[in-house]
Amino acid sequence: MRSPRFLFVLLLSALVAGALAAGRAPSTPPRAADVKIAPNTAVLAQSSTVWFCPGLPAALAHASARVTFANIGDSTADVVVTDLADNGTTTHVTIRVAANSVLTKARDQLGGAGALTVESFGGRVLVEEGIEGPQALDTAPCATESSAHWYFAAGATPRGVQQWLVIDNPYASDAKVDVTLRTSSGVHRPGALQSLDVARRSREVVAIHDISVRQDRVAVAIDAEVGSVVAAQTLVYTTAAGIPGVALSLGSPTAAADWTFAGGVAQPGSTAVLAIANVGPDAAPVDVQATAESSKQLLAAVNLTVAPDDVAWVQLGQCGAASGKACVNIAAGVRYSLDVRSDQTVSIVAQTLSRIDDAPDVVGTVTAPGLLAPARGWAFARSRVNGERSTTLSLFNPGAAAAVVGIGLVHDGRVDRPSALQRVTVPPGRAVTVTVVGGRPPSRFDAALTVNASEPIFVERSIVATAEAASSVGIVVG
């Protein structure tokens, strides 16, 4: 029996050795994390069915608020709008949105002032909210995701400027948040804004300008201790601050080291700034690189260091009046894109804020949060507003290969694809701005815009009306 013994032991040893060798690494790679389309506040995934619209502060005329529902799908959609009114009442309105159509409702048709939760059943529905009024125009996508963190880099509370923060808790459980203000005079964590309860299915509207008074720069961060919320910020410039205007923006749910702004224009008579908030514990060396649309040459970069818990503003153009402040030298009239990068991957938040006074061409206040990740598919729920003068899309291609872009206009049950908006080539590392609504008079229909690119790109929309302007990032389409 000795020989079989040896054979058996040999075989057993070989099996064990083989198993030990094979056991070192799994044969199948670990399951990939769920694919995220992009870190964006508004993403129309195949499965997305709910939108959260925090709404405008009650101080603004409720009747001027608008909510736009665009169904870019081929089937009719039932949209259930739940109004979480500030007075505590909850109302439901069901709206049917035909396939390939756009429907804009006055906010007061959907209930009292408050946040909206929009659920869609069928179709592919995009939702934007905004304001349309004399000297008050803005429209921005609602959010498809809530988050425990929200950041706003651009904000100010000088005389005549109101900075409103709206925190929406659409869920059935209460949330508790901390609000941090990073201002030109340092970081503040007001006691009233710590462990702030946001009751289930309600919103909290915070007048930042009453808490952080007369600050040139105010960046806001919201961190939820419990629950998950959606936050929006509205900047209201009254006549006391010069040209009146409203700038509405959803926050950024994350801080990052690299931010991109697809489109901007150095308008004569404008004051455009890039706000950079450092939300991390380390100083952030930041490079701000502008690229002109019309030239392959890079514009001179600006390097600055943003201290921890500080917020810095970099002027974009008009450097002659900057008087020693950080400024990106962009000639008047030049369209540009921006790349904002923290050198040591310190997390920052970037947002632009422009006040334009190039009357009669452009007047208004606009803000745009930066974008984090490019995508091949983008959409906007609407293309025109009352008093429309023009709507443009800025397409920035961050990749190494040229992107070929096609733009569709979805309205009245059909999708128009004007030849001028097809096969638009965006060179690598460059931006292209196309006008989708223009001419005199501009087209009368309001259309949802769909952008399909052969390469991942960034897209921003600008709407210029008679006495105001609006700028918005797009909705990523998965």
């Binding site: 029996m1 000795r2 020989s3 064990v16 198993a19 030990l20 709910v50 659920e119 059935a172 459980s173």
Partner: protein, 1052 residues
């Protein structure tokens, strides 16, 4: 003196040598002396031959090419000798082979060198010993020619690589210290008595193995042919060391390179010819490496020519592969003996190294002293150990009971499948019902485990908690007892059984199963030793048929019991059968393997029959119905350590492996065979526990603690056999690696027991007292009319109910709170369960934010997301952050309770399980066909829960009665004895149209087949148990199937 014709040598030689006594009285012996240029000693050698007192002795001198013809010298010294002159080519072997043709009629041939002087009685003593020992080849004691007090050889051995070894120290004085007749590997042909017929059968020496290995080769082949080779030290010869011996042991520096090459070639040829093919796989490479090392050593010491010669010797062997193949075939044709038996006579390690040790440092004496001391100590230890079994039993029992004290004395925490057992009535009605209420309900029979629960609770006067505690707390000691009993037939001492019990009890899987609340694996752990024991007994060659029937009944009943709790246990018997078959090439016993496999198939089928109709309902069922879930993959090291839970980390589990290795190293015969089978069983178990996870990360697998039960009992079995082998066999061995292995094994076992001891402190083997039912008992408070369900989501392995999976999310439903064991052993997945899975998947993937609405038709009032098996203890499930986030983002789920281990949400949109929708209510889309679409838009405003008693509701209606069980047309509702119309609600539950206000009686109208099947099932159980009893009256005699020598009538 004359030179004769070889063809006529025999008769004449024998006649002429027969002068003093009749030739017929003693067997004729022909001395074949090979000479080559003999020196002055030659005459003395011849004279000694002439002086032999053996009466029938003839002498044939074969002159092997001497330059000077020695015939005259021979004639003068030994006139009666015959002389034949050869060419001298081929060396000693070729010359000696002349005897094949030259000698006829001789019974023995005594080959000797020309410098050997035989004592006068040497030939006679050799022949006598050949007869006495029935030996084929006999060798004498060889002493120095000039100084007969100095020993040269008393039989020879070789190492595994063919290098000779005498074991005699240089100048060792003959004090009769080696004077015992014994088997040796070979004797040198300095003087070698060979049975003539054997010599012819072997076709003489192989000339190609000259120099250096021709005598080894002859003796090896003789042994292959089954002949004994012995040394008879009483017969003494004096050897001048002028030829062979001297040539074999010159000082290395003096050996010519050519000779070294030829010796190497001879030795390699010897190995190639003599070993069986499997052995060559390792012998040749090792031998080559040794020679290569030698060559390197020679090279480094400036003897390049000799280094080349060593290497060249290897290659010259294979210069004529065809001839080598034929030579090997010839040798292997003789084989009647295993290589293993050959190796018993070989020395371990390197002969060269031993020789060096003996010659240079006299290590032999020291080793002998150590060996003697070791033997004495081992004897002493063995004697003491035989007195200790009782103490071990007491200690082990106390340890296990101490570790289980809280389980036995207190409540079993409702962790995993340790959910509270229902009372007798509830358990029995669950068993007999034709509708299972697990998940969304299913028209499937329940497992007989509920009948066992009812029976156990009945015996304990309706105390299900105590019955459960006894099962959970008693599993470990019962398993240990089974392991003890398994070993009883294998040794007269109880110590092996106790060792097996200790190793089995110390195995971490039982503790891990308790900690994780795995009732099935735990029951399997308790019963597996008895199943294996029944197999061991049933496959004995002399087991009576009647006893085999009894043992088959035992296996079937045990497997059925284990299978009722954990369906994969039905594969235990087949696994054992397969293990027996896979061990077949190593242990033989085809009949036993066939018997085991056949028995496994029969008993498994019988067990499945005993579990019918439940077992049949599992055909084609989802993996979860068999207890298979997504589980984290175990590394092979973890599997080997049985580290599938809290216990098992560290070195302790390796002690079990170490203990189980012992019999593979030192056991023989039956014990080795059973140890091999046990290891094959363990290997199968290890493979099944490891491979699925290796092939697919996070694969759907059954509980590793259950799969590893077979490995646990296999290793415990092997460990027990090892102890048996140690007790009986180790004392016979000299000090060496065996003792080291044994010490390591004992230390390992002790280490494993220490690991067990450490886990006994809590009294529950790490299982804490808290559980989800206690933590969430508030759910059942103020239960609303109509009843509700709780949806448990998370890792399916930590949910407090039998879970199904949606994607990779586990989910389970319990009724009116946290539920009890009735939520265990969920029925195979039904359509309604898949609908529910789709809804959970939609929420987890972010496709809906209205999970509460979707779950409303199922009556889900609470959604509980749990992260671990118990609130503050228990196993953690895998990270389900995505699910957690998804639940937090549902618009209709309100956070109710939150802590580190779980989150509970209230479902704002829930509808009671029994509810009435008033007429004209359009908010509830009862008739929607798409379950999700119908539910997501339904609002429960105005829907009223309905109280019910014994399936009869209070007076309700008119309207629509929602009955939240899986849609099935056999659900029947009657109002005042009148059947009302049933339709599907929401596409997956039931609705009854009520046109009046009256009590409603609702029941599931199952088929009579289920009742008949239940009756048949009970009858089969009773019949099987009766048969078991009937055949038990004449039990198999318990006697050791393996004796001290390791062999028995039972065979391997």
């Amino acid at each position: 003196m004359e030179t004769i014709d070889p063809d006529s040598i025999s008769a004449e030689l024998l006649e002429r040598d027969d002068e003093t006594e009749p030739a017929q009285a003693v067997p004729p012996v022909v001395v074949v002396m090979i000479t080559n240029d003999p020196g002055p000693w030659f005459e003395e050698s011849l004279t000694a031959l002439g002086a032999q007192d053996y009466p029938a002795l003839s002498v044939l001198v074969l002159d092997n090419g001497s330059a000077d013809d020695p015939t005259d010298r021979i004639a003068r010294a030994l006139p009666g000798a015959f002389v034949r002159r050869c060419t001298g080519q081929g060396g000693f072997a070729a010359a000696a082979n002349e005897a094949l043709a030259s000698v006829e009629g001789a019974v023995f041939l005594l080959f000797c060198h020309d410098d050997v002087v035989l004592d006068p009685d040497a030939a006679r003593l050799l022949v006598e010993e050949a007869y006495r020992s029935n030996a084929g080849i006999v060798g004498p004691k060889v002493v120095d020619r000039d100084n007969p007090d100095i020993l040269l050889e008393v039989g020879m051995s070789v190492d595994h690589y063919g290098v000779p070894f005498s074991g005699i120290e240089p100048h060792e004085v003959d004090q009769e210290q080696h004077d015992g007749v014994r088997d040796v590997f070979y004797v040198s042909h300095a003087a070698m008595l060979v049975r003539s017929d054997l010599f012819h059968e072997l076709r003489g020496f192989d000339p190609a193995t000259f120099p250096g290995a021709d005598d080894i080769d002859l003796c090896w082949r003789a042994r292959l042919a089954g002949a004994r080779v012995i040394v008879a030290p009483a017969a003494r010869v004096r050897h001048g060391r002028a030829t062979v011996v001297a040539a074999r042991r010159p000082r290395d520096r003096d050996r010519p390179a050519l000779e070294l090459r030829d010796e190497t070639r001879s030795r390699v040829r010897l190995l190639c010819k003599s070993y069986a093919a499997p052995a060559l796989v390792w012998v040749l490479p090792v031998a080559f490496m040794l020679n290569l090392s030698e060559a390197v050593g020679l090279l480094l010491t400036g003897r390049a020519a000799r280094a080349r010669a060593v290497v060249a010797g290897w290659f010259s062997v294979f210069a004529h592969p065809g001839e080598l193949r034929r030579a090997r075939a010839g040798a292997q044709q003789l084989r009647r003996v295993d290589d293993g038996d050959m190796r018993d006579l070989m020395i371990r390690g390197s002969a060269r190294l031993r020789r060096f040790m003996i010659e240079r440092v006299h290590a032999g004496e020291r080793l002998a002293e150590v060996s003697t001391l070791t033997r004495v100590r081992m004897d002493e230890i063995a004697r003491r150990l035989r007195r200790l079994p009782a103490m071990f039993v007491v200690l082990l029992g106390a340890l296990v009971l101490f570790g289980s004290r809280s389980l036995l004395a207190g409540r079993v925490p409702a962790v995993g499948s340790f959910q509270a057992w229902p009372g007798v009535g509830a358990a029995w009605s669950t068993f007999t019902a034709s509708w299972r209420t697990t998940m969304m309900g299913a028209p499937r029979p329940a497992t007989p485990a509920f009948a066992f629960m009812a029976a156990a609770s009945t015996v304990l006067f309706d105390h299900p908690g105590l019955a459960q505690a006894l099962v959970v707390g008693g599993a470990l000691p019962l398993g240990a007892f089974g392991a003890y009993r398994l070993l009883r037939p294998f040794a007269s001492s109880s110590l092996p059984g106790i060792a097996a019990a200790a190793v089995y009890a110390a195995n971490p899987i039982a503790r891990n199963a308790i900690w994780q609340g795995e009732l099935g694996p735990l029951v399997c752990f308790a019963l597996a030793p008895f199943v294996l024991g029944a197999f061991v007994r049933a496959t004995g060659d002399d087991t009576p048929r009647r006893s085999r029937v009894h043992l088959a009944c035992t296996v079937a009943l045990l497997v059925a019991i284990a299978g009722s709790v954990w369906p994969p246990a039905l594969l235990l018997a087949p696994a054992i059968g397969v293990a027996f078959c896979l061990a077949l090439p190593f242990v033989g016993g085809a009949h036993r393997a066939r018997s085991a496999l056949g028995g496994a198939i029969v008993t498994s089928a019988a067990a499945a029959l005993l579990l019918a109709p439940w077992s049949f309902s599992l055909l084609g069922a989802d993996a979860a119905a068999f207890g298979a879930q997504h589980r984290a993959s175990l590394s092979f090291v973890s599997v080997m350590q049985f580290h599938a839970g809290r216990a098992g980390a560290g070195l302790a589990p390796w002690g079990i492996i170490a203990a189980a290795v012992v019999p593979l190293a030192i056991a023989t015969g039956t014990r080795l065979a059973w140890a091999t089978r046990a290891w094959v069983l363990a290997a199968i178990s290890f493979g099944l526990a490891w491979l699925p996870g290796r092939l697919s990360e996070g694969a759907t697998v059954v509980a590793p603690n259950g799969v590893l039960v077979a490995a646990a009992i296999g290793l415990a079995f092997a460990a027990g056999l090892g102890v048996a082998a140690v007790l009986d066999g180790l004392r016979r061995y000299r000090f060496g690696w065996r003792q080291v292995v044994v010490v390591a094994a004992f230390a390992g076992t002790a280490l494993a027991v220490v690991g067990l001891s450490a886990d006994t402190l809590s009294g529950r083997f790490g299982l804490h007292a808290d559980d989800w039912p206690a933590t969430y008992s508030w759910m059942a408070d103020n239960a609303p009319p109509g009843g509700f369900r709780v949806l448990w989501v998370g890792d399916p392995n930590v949910l407090p109910a039998d879970a199904k999976v949606a994607g990779d999310v586990g989910f389970a439903l319990t009724n009116n709170g946290v539920g009890d064991a009735r939520a265990s052993w969920a029925a195979p997945e039904q359509h309604a369960d898949r609908v529910l899975a789709g809804m959970i998947d939609a929420a987890a993937s972010g496709s809906t934010v209205r999970l509460g609405h979707l779950l409303a038709p199922a009556g889900v009032r609470y959604v509980a997301f749990v992260r671990r098996a118990a609130p503050s203890s228990g196993a953690f499930g895998r990270d389900e952050t995505r699910l957690n986030d998804a639940l937090a983002r549902q618009l209709d789920l309100t956070l109710s309770r939150i802590d580190d281990s779980g989150v509970v949400y209230d479902n704002d949109a829930w509808i009671p399980m029994r509810a009435v929708v008033p007429p004209k209510n359009t908010g509830v889309r009862v008739d929607g066909r798409d379950p999700q679409a119908a539910a997501v838009r339904s609002e429960a405003d105005g829907v009223v829960g309905v109280a019910a008693k014994a399936a009869t509701t209070s007076a309700i209606g008119p309207g629509t009665l929602l009955w939240s069980q899986a849609a099935n047309p056999r659900w029947v509702a009657t109002v005042n004895g009148r059947r009302v119309v049933r339709r599907d609600a929401f596409g997956w539950t039931n609705a009854f149209a009520l046109d009046s206000h009256a009590p409603v009686h609702v029941r599931y109208a199952g088929t009579g087949a289920v009742s008949v099947a239940r009756v048949a099932e009970i009858a089969i159980w009773i019949g099987t148990v009766a048969l078991w009893f009937a055949t038990r009256r004449r039990p198999v005699e318990s006697r050791p199937v393996a004796t001290a020598a390791g062999e028995s009538a039972a065979g391997a």
